[in-house]
Structures are given as C-alpha cells and as structure tokens.
Symmetry: C2
Subunit: 397 residues, 2 copies
C-alpha cells in the first residue's frame, strides 16, 4: 500500500547521529560519535535516595497527571538558578518545563513559524534542532560560524533579503558540533540585528553549565530588553539525559501558546522526574556535582587534545573547546571526509561526518565531530591514534 | 510587544478540562471533572521496589539517552500483550513507545495530514485529541455518536463530500466523554467506509483494559487486513498517568516517519519509566493488578449510578458504562447546561460542560461529563445529591 505522508515530514530523514547511535551495538567499536553525557556524570546514589523518598512520601502526586507548564517548585528553582547563574531575569518572561531541550526548540518553532517561514541557524549546527524546524515546514538557512560566532554580515544579508525569516537559532556556548563559544561582541551583534529586523532569537544552551576553562560570556537572553529571546536548556548534561527534563524561558504572551502546543504534544513532562530534579536542586549540592562533571570533562577533553596533538598530522586542525562535549576536526583538502569516516569505522572508530550538521543537507564538509564525554580514557587515546594514523596514510596516498 | 503566532496555534485555546484541573486547588470542591485515574490504582510499592532495582542494577542505561522507537524489551512486551489481549498482530505493523497516548495521536495526525486536511471524530469526543489535530492545522468534523457508535450514514456523507478527509479518529471502547462502547457491527461499518474511501483510522483505546462489566468487543485494529488502522493506548490508566508512557501501532512505512517526527519532538520517552513499565509487565501480575482497578471502578461507577438514580429527577438521563472513567449526563431542555455547570460549581461540585467536547466549538450541548474514578465514595454520594437537587430546582423554576 502507498501511504501519503504530510509535506513537512515526507522528505525528512532520521538524524544521522541517532542512526549511528543505533548502529553502535558492536562493543568493539570506539565511539566518538555520540552526544551522550558520561554515565559517570549521573549522581545515581542521590537520585536513588530521592526516588525512594518520593515513592514513600509523595507517590500519589508523582504518578498522577500534572499541569502542562510543569511542576511549580521546579519551575521556581529553575527560574532562580537562571537568574543567579546566567543573568536571566526579564520581567514578563515565563519559565516552563519541557520534555528535554529538543521539545523546547520544537515548540518554539511551531508556535512562532508557519510552514514556509525561514529559520536562520549557524552552519554547522545541531542536526536535531534543524530537523525539528524542518518538521514544522520551515526552511533552514545557514550562516557561517566563525571562531567568534555567526558571521554578522552574512546574517544581515539574509535578514535583508528574506522577509520570511522568523527566528535565529543559535548555540552560542560550546556550540554543537563546533565546540566554539561566540564572543560577547558577537552576541550583542546578533541581538541588535534581530531587533533591527524584527525577528526572534532562540538561544540553545544545553552545555552552558559545562565550562571547564576560560570565563563565562553573558547569555544573549541576559541582554534581552525587548522580549525577543527564547532560552532553552535542560538537565540532560548535568543529571540525566534519559529522563527528558528541560526548560524554556520566553515572553509570556508566546509562552501561553507554547503551553497549549505542549498540551497537544504530551500533556506534560514525566512528573516523577520533575519532582526528583527539584529535590536534587534543593537538597543536594548541584554546584559541587556540576564541578565534578567539569573536572571529568576537562580531563577527557585535554586527553583527547593531547592525543590528537601527538597522532594527527599537522595538516589536520581542530577546535580547543572550553566546555561542552565536542571537538570539531577539519581535514585538509587532500583527504576526502566521507572516505575518512568510512575507513575510520572499518578500523572500529566511529565519528560523525560534518555533512550531518550542514544547514544545506546537500553541501559537502571537510570536518568531523568527535565526542570526548562518553569514551573511556583508554579509548580516547587508542581512537585518536587510529584516526591519526588513518589521516597520515590518506595524506600520503 | 505584538507577537505573531503561527496560524495553526493562533486561535487554539487550552483544553477546558486541563484548565478546570488547574483551578481545582480548592479542597472543599467535589470534583467530578477530572480524567484522572484513582491514586489507589497506582501499584506504588511494586513500582518503588522495581525503581530501587533499576537504580542499583541498571542506572547507567536508564538515565542515558535511548532510541526514539522506545526500549526494545518494552516494545516486545506491549506487542505480545496486544496480540493476546486485543487480537492485534498484523504482519507489517510496528509498535513504538510514545510520551503518553496524546503524543501517539498527535504524531499520527501530523505525519498523515497537511494543514487544511480534515479529521473526522465522534461528536462529542476527547478534547485533547481534537486540539492536537487542530494544532496540526487540521479541520475537525464531527459525526454524531449514537449508542452503537458513530452514525454511519453521517460518516459516509462527509467522506463522500469532503475529499480532504485523511483520518477518522475514534474511541470505540468506553468513549470519552460519553462512556459508551460501539458495537462490533458498527466497528466493521467504520472500517469498511474507511477502506472504501481510502482514509486512515486512528483508534484510541486508553480505557480498553478497564472493562468491569459486559463482554469485550473486538478492536477495529484487530479487523485491519489492509494496514489502514493506527492503534494508540497507554499505561496512564493502569500504572501511572504522570509517567507519560504510551504506545502506538501502525503500518511500518508510516511508523518510520512517525519515529522521525517523534525524534523532532522529544528524542525519546523517559527511559527509566519505560524500563520500570517493562519490569512491571514481566515480573508482577499485571492482569491481577488490572482486575483490582476494574473492581475499584466497578464499585465507584455503580455507586455513582445508584446515587444518580436516587437523587436525579427522571427527566435527566445518563449513560451506564461497562468500563472506563466517565458518565455522560444529559439534561432536559428546560435546564440550561451552562447555568447548571455554573451553579453546581457555586455549590462546590465541578463537572465538565458538554460543549468542551464538541467538534464544533461554537455548538451548544445539553450534557455534562462526570468522572467517578477520582472522587471518594463519600464525595460521589454527596456530589450526586447536590447535582440532583440542583437539577430538580432548575426544573421547577
């Protein structure tokens, strides 16, 4: 039977990353391809204790339907943390709980955009978000990501020429996949352009808590005097990704509609884990826990960089992130990126091809993304050695 | 600032029921307005024990990202149960886990329908589903719900005249809000018409396990030789509604696209509770647990019916459900339904106005929905007495 699929979804493919993730059942493969937090980052014992408490004291509420906006104490705790930690405290904004950061991105897009509207994103960018925008029927246009952030003249050129732009999507801090952090000046530039052209900004900050070097740069949301910035993040990288608890902040008038859209998608987010997250935030030392993750990832990132320094031919370049989960490795012209990824997998090292992050899905890419949070220290060294030897070989062919 | 909201969401209002739920913070109100399972139906001790086990044995997996389709052992267990319990076992079908039944309904609609397409639903029907379809940009057309199911000639008239119908949405068993169950002949009629006119059926069966009287009627999905029926249900009414674990079955070609759409919405459903659900299904006696809920609801439904029999003027009629959570009470012409709901609330009894379930949101309704799963036995009797006295008074005015 021939089934007719809706226009927005007909041509959408599953995320290459999640497909790679599915294929990684072979335990002999060293995977640098995930976006997963380290299992060492889950505070299992404390979560288990809180969970037992909730079952003992509050099960009737935790297992029952909740309100769409989220568990009120958790919303308050998130709001308070965003204020002290990220300078986010605009009057007239509302914070809601969402089913992982991805839902926050998707809901913002479907509430602001009609099919055929344009979303601008950094090129490269997080494939999951780009697919969410495409599933809403939006066109995604990429702006080259420089070391200091989006290329502002490219950004303005699109804003000037395309009157269907509704939203600029950006991951300014520890960008996925590039690992770079945009400068304060660049952020102010993006904000000024959004204001000038009357478009919204969707600031995605899933890794913001994971800075292990350098200094914080103010969030774009903290600059938002006009109510044009939506800010999305989650507990996926600091407590548990599998629990799917994230949050979204934005101007109240739009957030009311986003709540209606969320009600239509899943009524509300798993309430038990909302309560668990709230109790962890207020009864445990979240900052100390986050510091331990920062220490862990600092070590892993430095080890990967040292290993790449040791094994990679000097023609291969890579970013040196100050936080987050990813390195972005760029191959010299002589090496075909797709062949590199394929041969690496044959040698049991999985990396994600840069094309997976392109706004223009047909465009080529000379880069691959490497994740350092998941692999063991031993595998980081072994994997980088294999990749380095492969690159050296391919350079000499 | 004036914000522009997308066309599909601009005019959508929050579900009246969930708004009523939010307003029910006054503990002196007797609420017949919820759609919540009884907290007595949550197997708290067993869930707590399994939860402790998962934290002890399998936390790294349970707190980590999972695959979009759902936890494989749970998908298998659901598939097996659907086969033995509901005769659902079509070759070429796929079962996935969704974030509550609502997500299954919403994903099916957005994957099959373009904005402007038509979804046919029973009138009255579940407001949450109707809103999900509207949020996708679909028009909802209602077909009168008779005692034996959808009015088949009305259904065919719409199918004949509207070439944008893509899907028939139906809750054939213990319908929400009406509490009625359609006959096997009616189900075969709906299936035959869908086949004849080349449209899909979305069968929603959240209450199917909650039969406390009468005999099972075959699911429409069990009649599906052509691969035109999607079947959606959840664990909300038998384990926990707050955990948001549901499932969806349909033809593989469409399910692949639905998985992509789900990936864009929330990546996957809370993995910890997927594991917990799987272990409950395989390590505990799910059937015995469900029987205990059936006993509980049989008692509550009978008590509500006896109380209505005693206190309601004979001009007021109501359905006598064989399962599910709801009674549908129809007032005589002399009583204005909206005034009745308002005065009942003033007397501290909350019921849901029938208009909330209308496919045509502007149409009037002579009915109200009563829930018997949540209120205590004492409150069932007291609430029915208050409603009965109010109806009697309003008849004499």
């Amino acid at each position: 039977m021939e089934y007719r699929i809706s226009d927005s979804l007909a041509n959408l493919k599953p995320s290459a990353i999640r497909e790679i993730f599915k294929s990684l059942t072979d335990p002999t493969i060293i995977s640098f391809s995930g976006g997963n937090p380290s299992p060492l980052s889950f505070p299992v014992e404390k979560m288990a204790a809180i969970s037992a408490d909730i079952f003992a004291e509050n099960a009737s509420a935790a297992l029952q339907y909740g309100i769409t906006e989220g568990y009120t104490p958790l919303r308050e705790a998130v709001r308070a943390r965003l204020k002290t930690r990220f300078g986010i405290d605009r009057e007239g904004d509302t914070t809601i709980i969402v089913t992982g950061g991805t839902q926050g991105l998707e809901l913002t897009c479907r509430t602001l955009c009609n099919p055929g509207d344009t979303v601008i994103a950094e090129n490269p960018s997080f494939i999951g978000a780009l697919n969410s925008f495409r599933a809403t029927g939006c066109n995604v246009k990429g702006v080259t990501l420089r070391e200091d952030g989006m290329d502002l003249s490219e950004l303005e050129a699109i804003l000037k020429s395309d009157d269907r732009v509704r939203m600029i999507y950006t991951i300014p801090t520890f960008q996925n996949p590039a690992g770079t952090t945009s400068t304060e000046a660049n952020r102010r530039g993006v904000y000024a352009l959004a204001k000038k052209y009357g478009v919204m900004i969707l600031e995605d900050n899933p890794y913001g808590e994971l800075r292990f070097a350098g200094k914080d740069v103010p969030t774009i949301k903290s600059m938002d005097t006009e109510g044009i910035v939506f800010y999305c993040s989650s507990f996926s990288k600091i407590l548990s990704s599998g629990m799917r608890v994230g949050f979204l902040v934005g101007p109240d008038a739009v957030m009311q509609k986003i709540v209606v859209a969320k009600q239509c998608e899943d009524v509300h987010t798993n309430l038990f884990f909302q309560m668990l997250t709230y109790r962890f935030m207020t009864e445990c030392d979240l900052d100390a826990h986050i510091r331990s993750i920062q220490d862990l990832y600092r070590g892993k990132c430095e080890l990967m960089l040292r290993s790449l320094d040791e094994y990679m031919p000097k023609e291969v370049t890579y970013t040196r992130p100050e936080g987050g989960l990813f390195l972005w490795v760029t191959l010299p012209e002589k090496i075909d990126m797709n062949a590199f990824v394929k041969e690496a997998l044959a040698r049991k090292v999985a990396v994600v091809p840069g094309t997976a992050f392109n706004c223009d899905t047909a465009a080529p890419s000379p880069s691959v993304r490497l994740n350092y949070s998941m692999p063991s220290d031993e595998n980081i060294v072994r994997g980088c050695k294999i990749l380095g030897e492969l690159a050296a070989e391919m350079l000499c062919r």
